[in-house]
Symmetry: C2
Subunit: 613 residues, 2 copies
């Protein structure tokens, strides 16, 4: 059997197995798998350099199934390369199986680096992988298989532009142009020249191929491998290829075949096969470091005696963290605002300017961490909303990501509401396994920035535009899940709970109230998730009244986090939540805080009102 | 003075006034304004058809300042056309002034249709405006002024593709290619041919012009006006043009000039002028209907006697709402999943398939409502995270938007976590002025879908993939802010609070517990924001234990909303929150609910445990 026949046989097996597993599951996307079967067969047989026994080897090529719904194809490939067996394949979509509806890293699934299934994310992620490999001069390539419907997502074009700008030579995207989306024809159908023209206009090389001609595919892959820039292979394919009643037919998206239909389709494809292939192993073996492996690296954190903005402290602490070679930083063209520019100054080769393309920035960060880097990504907190789907999916990817959102709250002042992060705490709390940090002063920020580097999952740090005064000495410990009680006494009648910039207003309010004989406890909940529930519950038991103060909308932020922590015990006392309740405009930070009820004077008024009979 | 001189004089005035107002404010973006002064001068003098006295006239052309940071330019234009006076201009960025840091609709600012300042949003919004005008055969054009940094945002390319696909002939985008972003050169700097090639590859006509040559600009605008498809005008400009120490200089982004610098710059620009212009009025006058004007339209809502999926009821109710000519629907290529296809069937001309481009979909929806339409936009709830920045900014725009997120929660089953909305309630609650609805059965969904059409602000409806049983009769009222108490008695020992699919599990748990002698109250909080606090507080007073049950992460959803409502009175009793706490995989809805503790059996276990001594 010649090579062409072998590839075609393997492709037929992948198609048959895609049908078998999705029919066994009763759901799934067999037709989206059939369109890419030849593309996958040639790739895994002869191009992808990948050690099946050692998927964590950083010397491997990477494969990202951006069209995650073609999971039957991917898992059929895993069977063909011996990663899973046929019994496992047939657990597709079953409860408890790592062979999920869309690929996701999970226990028992080390061959999946990142979760896909939200379309348009594979290319940004692949870009990050490619850039990470470039940093270490690894010879690997990143292969991203995309669907044609998903290139309507702007994130694809953010990645296209950044990939060519950054010269990601080892990035190869394959476009499975099968013409049909979920509901019918795509906007461009089979106009491959137009996809190619777009890619070329974005600085990529574009190749065109018949996606069911294995020799042509092999040739295109060779050309792509020889390139010195990112390459898009536009492959004209048929959805449901190889099966008469599926091929290029509408109405079959995301539908498993009935057992009868499956039998017919499998017969048309030549029946069940049991071909095993072994991808070529890479020449290089590079260990992946476990989380925390660099935690003992001595870091010369900045120390502050004077007022400083927490965003500046973040930047300087991040620059200190550059002593760890695993740390990389990405920014959305605001590095002189977030202060990641301080990192860039000391480690320019590990700083990635992603321009105003927050989705590409977050996707790339997920890619970086998937191949062993420790990415910090920063922009205005308001603009992280642009990439919330990437944060959500990063959690599904079990990614370790460090995010910083600067310019939080109305306290940015004159720029107005478009630039004010007022929902970021809610957004980041509602991410599975996330950690949410909101330091008030520069020394706390430095400590927490260092701590971020070794925490699992998505870690979010919220910073402030303005300078804030010194509250803590350099070197003071800020354990995640802890808090700081800044005012406390035996006769406290109220507890003010705050973090960040409004903590200062709370302290001033407490001082004013104390002068009137109203003793206040003040707690800095710099760790908002997890929050220090024990301290909060004791404060409620002691004082009977908690007033939460936050430069954030009332929903989902500090107030909600405090109530949730209090609810772990039987409820008692009263909670008053102060936050932003109206749409702000421009103004000075002081004016806006007073307008929102977040000034010391307004906080004190609320406390007096709450305590009056 | 010939026309060219007049335009140049006006441009100089716009530059001078941009400097004056930003210097008076002490912050702002004068150099980003100077680059576009000639473009604006020619546009407002001779091309934009706009009645300054009647900005709400739907017959007007629309202007969207996508590069919202160039607000000094825009407000200087408003002065030149007589919308505001010089004193008002000098309130730029001051507390309480509608002349905000970035343009936003606000009392006193009827000349701004939509908020900008988060980059890359103007073109999607302009697309929606253009499509809306096309629906009514209005002769207006939509002019969108974009910066060059912002075209790195993928949302721009989502809009480019959809605009050409939908044939938005009256959409003209002007690219102020001033070469410099916030931190330094853009990726393409002055490579106008490359921008043009990208636009052409995306199906647009592209023109190139020197952005400081007023005659050339006038000619380009004429060509764009004569076009029969969307046109991009790539204007080569200088940031800070006309001032020797600013022009094409780095380090001046977002910086106001000092009074001394301003004096020098104004002198270089020829001093303060007081030119007044009057844009050409449109030939057409069309009234905008106020919110609720169509509320009395008879709507033949669907009625359900059998189990039905709430997503299907949403689609059928939306189809019934097609009787109102103001209603339009948009979808992200999942209309056969969200069931907006039911609307498409009855009102195909008012259905807009935005393909898998959620940001363009939401931006277009904002544009639709800005010119008098009543847009409903739908996709999987999980994928609304893709457009969270657009939802956030829609609130700043004071937009009335109706959003539906389908396939909520782990109850979608086999597709796995990438498709499961588990943070949508948190995300949507944390939007200023939003309403969040989560009906359990089909009749409730129909009523709430109808109610959505006349609510102010951002309204979110969460729907379920599976069929759910009938709980309510057709025609039953579901007031926003209300709830339904489905089980209640004098000896209730616990209150189960839920909504949507888990309400059924809660009812089954209540029945099982009742059989054991544990009487349970059950409340359907179909209105999650605002939530029915009075009923919840009474339930706590009566039963002393509330158990919240939601197919959502624990943070920011029903549990938090209930606690927040309880906190309006002194706290008492206990709250147990049941939600998703681990990363789900695939499985059947039943298996996954049981795994997450959301099955009737597991809910009952939690109640028993909470009640045991």
């Amino acid at each position: 059997m010649d090579r062409t026949q072998e590839w075609n046989e393997l492709a037929a097996q992948l198609g048959v197995d895609s049908i078998r597993c999705s029919t066994a599951a009763g759901s799934g996307h067999p037709t989206s798998s059939l369109s890419a079967a030849h593309l996958a067969a040639v790739l895994f047989s002869d191009h992808l350099r990948f050690d099946v026994e050692d998927p964590a080897n950083l010397g491997n090529d990477r494969f990202v199934l951006s069209k995650g719904h073609a999971s039957p194809l991917f898992f059929s490939v895993l069977k063909a390369i011996g990663a899973i067996d046929d019994d496992q394949l047939l657990t597709f979509r079953k409860f408890g199986s790592p062979i999920q509806g869309h690929p996701a890293p999970a226990p028992g699934m080390p061959w999946v680096d990142v979760a896909t299934g939200s379309l348009g994310q594979g290319l940004p992620i692949g870009l990050g992988m490619a850039l990470a490999m470039g940093l270490d001069d690894l010879p690997g390539r990143v292969w991203v298989l995309m669907g044609d419907s998903e290139v309507a997502e702007g994130s694809v074009w953010e990645a296209m532009e950044n990939a060519s700008f950054h010269g990601a030579r080892n990035l190869i995207a394959i476009l499975d142009m099968n013409r049909l989306g979920q509901r019918g024809p795509t906007m461009l159908e089979w106009e491959g020249d137009r996809y190619a023209a777009r890619a070329e206009a974005f600085g990529w090389r574009a190749l065109r191929v018949d996606g069911h001609d294995v020799a042509g595919i092999d040739q295109a892959y060779r050309e792509a491998e020889d390139g010195d820039g990112p390459t898009l292979i536009v492959a004209r394919t048929e959805k449901g290829h190889g099966v008469s009643f599926l091929a290029n037919k509408e109405g079959w998206h995301g539908k498993a075949l009935s057992p009868d239909e499956a039998e017919k389709a499998i017969a048309e494809l030549g029946g069940v096969r049991d071909i095993a292939i072994t991808p070529q192993k890479p020449d290089v073996r590079v260990d992946r470091e476990p989380l925390g492996a660099r935690a003992d690296t001595p870091i010369d954190l900045p120390a502050y005696e004077e007022a400083q903005a927490t965003r500046k402290a973040f930047g300087e602490a991040l620059a200190a963290l550059a002593a760890r070679p695993d740390v990389v930083a990405l920014d959305g063209e605001v590095a002189n605002s977030t202060h990641t520019e301080d990192f860039q100054k000391v480690a320019p080769e590990r700083f990635f300017e992603m321009y105003i393309a927050e989705q590409a920035m977050l996707g790339a960060a997920v890619g970086f961490q998937a191949v062993g880097k420790n990415p910090f990504a920063a922009t205005f907190g308001a603009f992280l909303t642009r990439a919330y789907d990437f944060v959500r999916m990063a959690a599904v990817s079990r990614a370790n990501l460090r995010l910083c959102g600067s310019h939080a709250g109305i306290s940015i002042g004159e720029d107005g509401p478009s630039q004010m992060a007022l929902e970021d705490l809610a957004m980041m709390r509602a991410v599975h396994g996330s950690t949410v940090l909101y330091p008030a002063d520069a020394n706390a920020t430095a400590e927490l920035t260092k701590a971020m580097a070794d925490l699992p999952g998505i870690v979010y740090l919220r910073t402030t535009r303005e300078k804030t005064g010194k509250l803590y000495d350099a070197g003071e410990a800020f354990p995640v899940g802890g808090s700081k009680t800044l005012r406390s006494g035996g006769d406290d009648r109220v507890t003010l709970v705050s973090a960040g910039v409004t903590l200062y207003e709370s302290l001033a309010a407490a001082d004013a109230l104390a002068a009137e004989g109203i003793a206040c406890r003040v707690i800095d909940v710099y760790s908002i998730k997890p929050i220090d529930g024990a301290t909060l519950r004791k404060a409620m038991a002691d004082t009977g009244l908690i007033v939460t103060v936050e430069d954030h909308l009332l929903e989902g932020g500090i107030g909600d986090a405090v109530l949730s922590a209090l609810a772990e015990d039987p409820l008692q006392g009263r909670v008053v939540s102060i936050g932003v309740t109206e749409m702000p405009g421009s103004g000075s930070p002081e004016e806006l805080r007073d307008w929102a009820g977040l000034s010391a004077a307004k906080i004190a008024d609320r406390v007096r009102a709450a305590l009056s009979p």
